[in-house]
Structure formats: structure tokens, C-alpha cells
Symmetry: C2
Subunit: 656 residues, 2 copies
């Protein structure tokens, strides 16, 4: 008997409904509705090799509607990936199974990106498509020439980030990006008509996209649409009209199939409707074999690619971009830059210091891509000779992201996850709030992205409370796996950049000043910022106080310490650019920096909540526990008690 498209698709449906039932939780509706489209994509269009999941020229596939995770688990197993195993699918959503509730890039090599927070998968795919075109421009068709495919749902399209993502993709003319929209007209609350009246196709067209429609349950119609998408030079939206929970006769087409098991009676009815007379998790040999054959298509293709690519001039360098060694050239360049600063100290804002560091990095490491969400001159993210990355020149290394902080951040995740690229991008620190859901996904996905966040305190002055970070540095410190760094001067900024580049398993956030800061590090040394906190100056008089300061407050602490020392009150001044790194130091080191017999005084122009971690309850915390105000910076530091005089006075009062 010939295996039909329906057989192939029904294998996906059966695995999805049975796995959700076994887990007694999950989302059967989407994988059942999109089984036909997924089958056509994975059997006829997607370029991949299950035996070589990391094939650098594979198509990238992103399940932006991540709640439909059983779709990708089923497809990966059926096409012959080593993981997941059928047993792992049986253990869907159980502790230890890589088949997590939502797809996690660190669990399965076939999962390119973690999805679940709606809208971000598609926005991440935009970054992958940028990376592909950039690598293509640098290394040629023989090395890099693939598509990026996305399956997205109504949720992904309604989220605000969708606007930023498709605007960027349309502007950059990312024709190799194709988004299959699961147009099932159902959301959790019910019909989409309850909450939206949008003409989605018209909106995509307004953003420079090609739009094509198909019947999501007709393989030929889907195939024709995917062909049209590939043929069109614009990014494509494939509006794929589907019935959610297709095959479950009493529940299909309703929100009831979205996020709950179908239940045994409905699963039995679905088996009958679909003509699927096999036990749970049992896939007939002929059907499995047809699936495996589809997967095996890629084995030849990847071998052929390797043969061709390895003959190109740039292949060795391409591999260095991928394995991280290309980036390492930035290390010695930064070292030389720091040596120069020790020889000839500079008073500059740390945002400017970051630009100086980036000058060294970008000249030495060929595979950084920089950018800013419309604050290039303020974030100091552009260095000489990068060239603009746009539709006319994918080989450029600087992206004008527009006023799209969240879209920029998600695109950077996509570039990092694609491989080969180390992205960095800037906005004001206060707008980490706009980027925050993507920063969390950088951290969760262990993606190396550097966030260049300037104007890091009331020091930005007149723009006022909407633009003055108060809680932002602290709110990032509490997020797992983020290196949050607030350097004190031009040397620490270069050190923090070096640490960010060495931190290949997660993002770094650099909090940088608008205002000039004197160079406080004037002696040659190892990278002291690597300790997270270090004694910048030891007490001369008998030590009674340890200042623990970050960023622009280090100089204020030094000046306050001068006053106190003059009065016989010995003060250590500790610069603490990074909590996370300090927490990794030995108990002995930490105890030496934070001696029990001294008053520990934290000084940071932001919330004091949380500083008890180092000052203890009896220490002193100087900072700002309210929103800021609009005035020149000097007036604000005065108002909020963060001048050297005010700091010294507060310490004396505490000691008294």
C-alpha cells in the first residue's frame, strides 16, 4: 500500500494527541491543525539533515507558536533525528524529558530557538535571516544559502513585536524568510473576531511582504504556496487556513482543542475520523519508513554542500566564525587598548569608553554586527568602517534598527542562535524594559548577545523620570544567567567588554554613563572586573568603612573617602562592576572584600532594595528609592544626596 500524505500527517496528529493525553496537559489543537503544513514543509521543502543537525547551511525552522511543541517533537522523531526518542515523546512534559512543554533550544539540536513567549519566535527568525544574508555576502552561495521558515499563530501576529519584526524584515527585504501563518481563527478566549478585526494580509503587504494563501488541509495547495513563497524576492507570509484540532470530530475548530488534552472519548473518535487504527505511540512501519526517507533526503545534500563549501577560499574562516575562534582575536586587541589607556589616561563617559573598546573589537574580530534602536550617536555603537547592513549591502556590519528596541533584541537572539555572528545593540538603559522579554530569552537560550545600554542613571539629566533608570540595573541582576555590568571608567569598560566576549553562554548588559567619568584605574593589572568587585583603594587610616560602589558612583565614593580619611576614618573603596561575577569568587575573597568589622556602604544611583545582599541589614545603602526628576545632572546628584559631601555626611551620621 502506498503511504499517502494523509498517512504522514496523521502520524503527527496521533503523536500529538496521544502525547498530550499521556501528559494530561499540553496543546493538541495546533499540531493537529498544522500537521498537513508541517508534513509538506518537512517532506518537500525544508533543507535539513537529521544526522547532522548542526549543518551550517541547513534551513532554520522556528515554531513561533511554541505551545504546539508536539508538532516539532513529532517531526524530529519521524524524520530520524537522534533526539527525541519515542520514549522521550511518551514522557512529554515530564521531568528529564527533552520534550518540554515549550520547545527549548538547549534540549534538542533540532530546536533552533526556544519559543513560547508569543511573537518572539518570528522576531528571532528575522535575526536568523539577517545572519544568513550576511554570511552569504561574506562567504558566498556555496557556503551559505538557506531559507528561514516559521510557523506562527494568531498570538504571534497580534503581539506588538510582530510589527517591529515584519517592519524590519520588509525593510531589509529578507526574501528567504517565509512565515506560515496558522490561520485557524481561534484564540484561547474564543474566535479571533472577539478581539481583532485586522486584515492581516494587507498589513503584511504594507510592510513590504509578499502574501500568499492556501488551504491548510490540502497538500497540493500548501505545496504551491510554499513554492510561491520561495520564488518571491520579498519575505513571504503564507496564510494557511486551517481548522484547529483537525480530526477531532466534536472539538475541532474550537478553543477547546487549544490547551487541554482531548480526553479518551474524543481521541477515540478522532482515530475513527482520521482512519488511524493504531495504538498510542505506534507508527506503522511503512509510514515511519516513508518519513525516514523524507528525512534522509538531506544526507546527500549536506554532504554535497560540505564538498562544495570546503573548496571555497573562505571556508576555514567561516568555520572560525562558527566555533568562536574568530571572536577571540578581540581579546589581545582589548588588552592593547587598555595598555594604551594606562599610558595615557582618558576622562570620557563610559558610553564613549564603550565606543573606544568597540573600535578595537570590531577591527580585530570580523564577525560582530552592531546596531542601535535609533540612538546611534547616543549609544556610541558605531565604529569606523563597519558599513551599513541593509538591503543594498548585506555585507555591512551595522544595522539601523529604527525605533524597535524589542525587535532589535529578538533579532540579535536570532543572529546569535544562527551561529557565526556576535551581535550587540544599543538603546537607553531605561528601555531595557522594552527589551526585557528578549533579554530573558537570551539568558534562557544561552545566547551571546551584548546589550549596550547607555544613559544609566539620573546622570542623563533633563530628560527626566521617564528616561532615568532607577530599578533597571537591579531588575536585571535578579534575572538568571545575565552578566550585568556597570563599569566605573574607561578601563573597566574595556574589561567588561572583554568579559562579555568571553561569556559565550549568555547575554551581557553593559550599563553605561552619559556623563564623563575620570579614569580611576591607572595601574597596569590583570582584568580586575573579572572578580566582579575589587579593592580599588585601601584605607589609609584605620579601616572603619568599606564603600561598595558601581559606575559613576565610584568616583563619588573615592571623593567621599578622601574627606573621611582626612578626618581619620579609614575607608576602603571597592568598585563592583558585576554582582554575578563577585558571587562566583571564593568565600575567602568575598570575606576579604566585605570584612565583618567595617560599615559596608553601597553607593549606586538606583534603587537601594537588594543591596542588603552585601551591606547586610546594618550597613548603609545610598541610592534612589523613588522616580527621578528633570534637571541638569549635577542638580540631581545634589537633590538625591549622591555628591561626595552628601555621601560623607551620611556615613558620618551612620557611624555616630
Amino acid at each position: 500500500m502506498t503511504v499517502t500524505h494523509a498517512d504522514l500527517a496523521n502520524a503527527v496528529r496521533a503523536l500529538a494527541m496521544d502525547a498530550v493525553q499521556a501528559a494530561n496537559s499540553g496543546h493538541p489543537g495546533m499540531p493537529m491543525g498544522m500537521a498537513d503544513a508541517g508534513t509538506v514543509l518537512f517532506t518537500q521543502h525544508l533543507k535539513y539533515d537529521p544526522q547532522w543537525p548542526q549543518w551550517p547551511d541547513r534551513d532554520r525552522f522556528v515554531l513561533s507558536a511554541g505551545h504546539g511543541s508536539m508538532l516539532i517533537y513529532a517531526l524530529l522523531w519521524l524524520t530520524g533525528y537522534e533526539k527525541p526518542t519515542l520514549d522521550q515523546i511518551r514522557n512529554f512534559r515530564q521531568l528529564g524529558s527533552p520534550c518540554a512543554g515549550h520547545p527549548e533550544n538547549f534540549e534538542l539540536p533540532g530546536v533552533e530557538t526556544t519559543t513560547g513567549p508569543l511573537g518572539q519566535g518570528l522576531a528571532t527568525a528575522v535575526g536568523m535571516a539577517i545572519a544568513e544574508r550576511h554570511l552569504n555576502a561574506r562567504f558566498g552561495d556555496a557556503v551559505q544559502d538557506h531559507h528561514t521558515w516559521v510557523i506562527a499563530g494568531d498570538g504571534c501576529l497580534m503581539e506588538g513585536i510582530n510589527h517591529e519584526a515584519i517592519g524590519l524584515a520588509g525593510h531589509l527585504k529578507l526574501g528567504r524568510l517565509n512565515v506560515i501563518w496558522d490561520d485557524n481563527r481561534i484564540t484561547i478566549d474564543g474566535a479571533t473576531s472577539m478581539s481583532t478585526s485586522e486584515d492581516v494580509a494587507a498589513r503584511y503587504e504594507a510592510s513590504g511582504w509578499h502574501v500568499v494563501s492556501c488551504d491548510g488541509h490540502d497538500a497540493a495547495s500548501i505545496d504551491a504556496a510554499l513554492r510561491a513563497a520561495k520564488a518571491d524576492p520579498r519575505p513571504s507570509l503564507i496564510a494557511c487556513r486551517t481548522i484547529i484540532g483537525y480530526g477531532a470530530p466534536n472539538k475541532q475548530g474550537t478553543a477547546a482543542t487549544h490547551g487541554s488534552p482531548l480526553g479518551a472519548p474524543e481521541i477515540a473518535a478522532a482515530r475513527e475520523t482520521l482512519g488511524w487504527n493504531h495504538a498510542p505511540f505506534e507508527i506503522p512501519a511503512d509510514i515511519l519508513s516513508a518519513w525516514r526517507d523524507a528525512g534522509a533526503r538531506g544526507v546527500d545534500a549536506s554532504a554535497k554542500w560540505k564538498e562544495g563549501a570546503s573548496k571555497t577560499e573562505g571556508y576555514a574562516e567561516f568555520l572560525q566564525w562558527l566555533d568562536g575562534s574568530a571572536l577571540k582575536a578581540a581579546g589581545p586587541a582589548l588588552k592593547a587598548h587598555i595598555d594604551g589607556l594606562i599610558a595615557a589616561p582618558q576622562t570620557v563617559a563610559t558610553r564613549k569608553a564603550s565606543e573606544l573598546a568597540l573600535g578595537a573589537i570590531n577591527a580585530a574580530a570580523p564577525n560582530t554586527i552592531g546596531g542601535s534602536a535609533d540612538l546611534t550617536g547616543s549609544n556610541n555603537t558605531l565604529t569606523k568602517g563597519l558599513g551599513t547592513l541593509d538591503a543594498a549591502n548585506y555585507g555591512g556590519r551595522y544595522i539601523y534598527y529604527g525605533i524597535r528596541e524589542f525587535g532589535m533584541s529578538a533579532a540579535m537572539n536570532g543572529m546569535a542562535l544562527h551561529g557565526g555572528i556576535m551581535p550587540y545593540g544599543g538603546t537607553f538603559l531605561v528601555f531595557t524594559d522594552y527589551c526585557r522579554p528578549a533579554i530573558r530569552l537570551s539568558a534562557l537560550q544561552r545566547a551571546q548577545v551584548v546589550y549596550v545600554m547607555t544613559h544609566d542613571s539620573i546622570g542623563l539629566g533633563e530628560d527626566g523620570p521617564t528616561h532615568q533608570p532607577i530599578e533597571h540595573v537591579m531588575s536585571l541582576r535578579v534575572m538568571p544567567n545575565v552578566l550585568v555590568m556597570r563599569p566605573a571608567d574607561v578601563v573597566e569598560t574595556a574589561e567588561c567588554w572583554a568579559l562579555a566576549l568571553e561569556n559565550t553562554t549568555g547575554p551581557a548588559v553593559l550599563a553605561l554613563s552619559r556623563q564623563n567619568l575620570p579614569q580611576v584605574r591607572t595601574q597596569a593589572s590583570e582584568n580586575l572586573s573579572a572578580k566582579g568587585a575589587y579593592r580599588l583603594r585601601a584605607a589609609s587610616a584605620a579601616r572603619k568603612v568599606v564603600f561598595l560602589a558601581t559606575g559613576s558612583e565610584v568616583q563619588a565614593a573615592l571623593a567621599a573617602a578622601d574627606q573621611l580619611e582626612a578626618a581619620g576614618i579609614g575607608c576602603d573603596v571597592v568598585s563592583m562592576p558585576c554582582w554575578e561575577l563577585f558571587d562566583l569568587q571564593s568565600d575567602t575573597y568575598q570575606a576579604d572584600i566585605l570584612p565583618e568589622d567595617a560599615l559596608i556602604v553601597s553607593v549606586e544611583a538606583g534603587t537601594t532594595v537588594g543591596w542588603e545582599r552585601y551591606t547586610g541589614r546594618k550597613g548603609l545603602r545610598l541610592g534612589i528609592d523613588r522616580f527621578g526628576a528633570s534637571a541638569p545632572a549635577e542638580a540631581l546628584f545634589e537633590k538625591f544626596g549622591l555628591t561626595p559631601d552628601a555621601i560623607a555626611k551620611a556615613v558620618r551620621a551612620k557611624l555616630a
Copy 2:
């Protein structure tokens, strides 16, 4: 000499360029470019009374492009508002002047909403327009019948939230919302063509909007466009083609006018170009008089409105909605609800407990508007009889916001700021990240909005790390002026709701469990949650330990305490639903709850970073300092050491 439109508009331009110059910082380009549109709006269309800024039926005006703040300061002074004074305009961006860098609603009665974080002004205006239609439906045309006007720039349109905002407005057919787009084709980085290729008009039309264009420097053209906007039943986008920095001959039309003073030579040249031969801050009497006449139009109109409105049946109630007294009826209703719970305890998830509390609130207080970002059944935000608020029924009290967390939050700010309405809305706690920039503006603007954030920990189970809050509760605690509350049971949930309703000067975030929790409060008492933390159970054996727990971990702490007490280790168990309220208690109260001679143990299924505030450095912090995992909830609490056994064991190890 007759005063011309140009004279009126040039008065705005002159004040803007001179104030920015005096401050030596600020944004002259936008107010100079939009002076003509602003003049036409404020002299011919906007309904307002400078002598009665709080006139309840005034048109709402939102300067979404808040960096152009000098536009609104100039318009408010010229039309005769008591504030700002000319002297305050001279002190633009200086400490103490209400003319802050960005417009702040708490500084000037004529500023309806704080703007600056791009995109949010327009999204907030959507909420104002919803409030207007709702009040109109409830009280009639004589009481509420006004427009909402917005001036927005390219930044506001490129931000993701714009998609959510206009999608919601288009769906709800908010025809009284009119957005004037300052189409100057310039962003900070340069020409808009560097970062966007979008057909803005087509996108708005795709979302159900009416679009009309005009020449932004031709008063008749602007006037015709504003008339067309008012006449159309759909929300309108008025594409107003302008030249940024209009009048500055050498810099206009470039990014150079955006965010820096023009400089004395260019200001002199602008004076010449505009024919404005007056000293800085000097407005000729005839021009000022013409402006004041325009402002005075509203005095009669507001008096006439009051006469008409006060004759309506509902007017007295309308005033109660506005002054907050209508909402107070919820207090006794919640008290009765709690009495019922003491009599008949319930084991329910706190999200369900919130629904029970809302049942009492919504029945007693007529002016709540609820909703959810497509998680109605999960957030438990819908109670009986509210009715759906949609284009067919603006009188409904429940909004299906769709998958628009940020848009929902900004719209709620708009409803709260409009007045008359107490909005609440739900999503998963993890998606406070999506809402965060709007939560910050709730806090800064002192807007009473209640965020109903459910699925507040790993207790949500199988959906895994993308959906499990770890850092979220803490990251909200560090934000100024937010009541963050994580109740432990059905009684505390009702208490926290009561506190949220009493907290009229800022937002509250309720962090609520997915899983059932036993009722731990079974004795009648005052509102104990009002203290922020209170002793739920005192030690029986000699006290060695104080547990400090929140939410679902309170029951775990109680069970762990049972084990320890059985071994002779006395344990207080303190429930701590709200840090912010505890911090307001007396030193004596705090010291009694946190005795120095006991081991303080915090227990919360989230980051431990920050808990040193109460445990001290030597206390014990039990929580989760990594991302979560996908598995059933029980397996996760086991894995992360938050079962009673694991807690008791950790305490014993610490005491040993």
C-alpha cells in the same frame, strides 16, 4: 493689525526654540514642525477650558511624542491655563519647574498623561477613548461626549505597541480617537528611509482605521483633515506632512533639530525667516490676546455642559464614579466575603480566590472594567453579569483584549487617567515582562490599575521555563510606587484586593497561584495583609527560627515548621504578602516580626536575590536562582527543594 495663523503658530515656535536654548537641552524640532497643527487643533477643534482643566467632558489631548514637550507647555500657557507660567517655561527642564523634559501628568493639570517612552501615549489614549465611550453608554451624551486627540511621531508608530493599540482601537471602532501623525520623515539616526519602508496609511487601514492626509504647514489643509477625522465613524490617522524644525532655515528638515538646541545663530536666522522680531519669551500683546480668546471659547462650553449634565438622572452617580466614592462600596462587600470565608473555609487557587473577590467587588462597585490578554479562563478575571465591552456594546464591563499584554496595560492606564473607571486586567505573571514599560508608567503617573497576574511560579508546572516566573516578583518590588502582593490563600487574596482598591495613587500587582492552596487564615481579624507581613503562627517550642514566606510557600513553611516544632525547634511563621507595606510599619513592629535572635528563613519560589533585606546576610534564603523546568508542579517543588521536607532539612542544616 489682524493676528494671523502664522503669528499664532510662530509664537509656539519661538517659545520652543527659546526655551530649549535657555535650558541648553531639549527638542526644538518637533514643536516647531507641529506648531501649525497644534495651533489649528487648540484654536479650532479641541474642546477644553483652561479655567477648568478637570472638566469631565473635555477632549483629552495626548502628546505621544513626549520629547516635543515644549509644544504642550507653549499651548497651555498661550491658551491661558494657570500653569505653566511664563516663568516656569523660562525654567524649562530645571529643578522645580513643572515644565519637565517630558510632560508629566502630575506636574500640570493640562497634561493628561506622562509621555516620553515612545508608543505609549497613543496606546494610553486608546484607553481614554474606551473610557469615554463606556461613560457615554452609561450616562448619555449630555454627560460624556468628547474626543481624544493624539500627536504622535514616527517613533510612536514604529514601536510594537502601536500595532496592539491600533488593532484594539480599530476593533472597538473608537471613532472619537484621532491621531495626528507628525510625518516629518526624520528620526534621530537620520531619514526614516534608513530603517523603515512601511506604507503607514495602508497599515492603519488594514486595522480598520480611516486615514486622511494634509499639508502640516497649511492651516486650511490641517483644518479640513481634522474635520474629516471627526466626521468619520472610524478612528482616524491624520498624516500630517511636516518639516521638522520648520522655520530654522539651515537645519530644518534634518535630525539636527531633533534633540539639541538650535544655537544662537540659527535661532537668529529662524527669527528672520519667520518674521518674528520679538525678544526671547516675549509674545506681543495682540498675539497673546488672540491665543487667550481661543482658550476662552471653552469657558462657555464647559458652563453649558455643566448645566445640561447636572440635569440628567445619572449625574450624581457620575460624580461618584469620578471622585472615587463609587469604588468604596467594594470595601464592605469584600468584608462580607471574608466573613463568609471564615465561616466556611475554602481551598482554592489564589487566582480562583481573586475571581471570588472580584465577584464581590464587581457587584458592589459599578465602575470597574475588567479584562484579560486572551487568558480569561486562566486568569479568572471574568465575573457574572459584566457583559462584553465591544463596538456593539460600550456599556459592557469586560474587554477581550486579545494577545496584547502591553496594549492592555497602556489602555488601562488611559482608563484610569481618564477618570471614572477602575481598570483591572490579567495575564500570566511571567508576561509582566511584556507589560513592564506600562506598569512603570502606572507607577510614575500614580494611576490606579490592578494587574491580575496568575500562574505565579513553577507551580504552573508543565509549560516550563518560558512560562515560569523566577525573577518577576522581585523585579517588580524594586520598581517605585508599585504594590506587589503575593497572597497565601483565599482570605489574603480578598485582603489584597481591598488594599489594591484603597491604593488610589498607584498600581497594584497581584501574583496569584495556578494551584490550589488551603485556607490558612481561619480566624476573624482586621486586614492583616495591610501590615505587609504578620505572624501567622507563633512558635510553640523556644523560638529559633522565623519563616518569612509568601504565596504558595506559606503552606509549605507551615508544614516545615510542624516538623521542626516536633523536634523542639520553635518556629514563627510569618506570611509576607507585600514588602512595600511592611516597610511602612514602625521599627517596633518590624523588629517584633524579625527578631535578631532567630534564624530568619525566607521561602519563596523565585529568586533569592534581594531577600537579604529581611533575612540579613546570615539568614537562610530558600528559592530558585535559575530558570525553571517543564514537569508537573509537584515534581518541580521537589526538584527545587521547596517541599516541607526539603525546607525543614535545609533549616536543620543551617542550624547545625
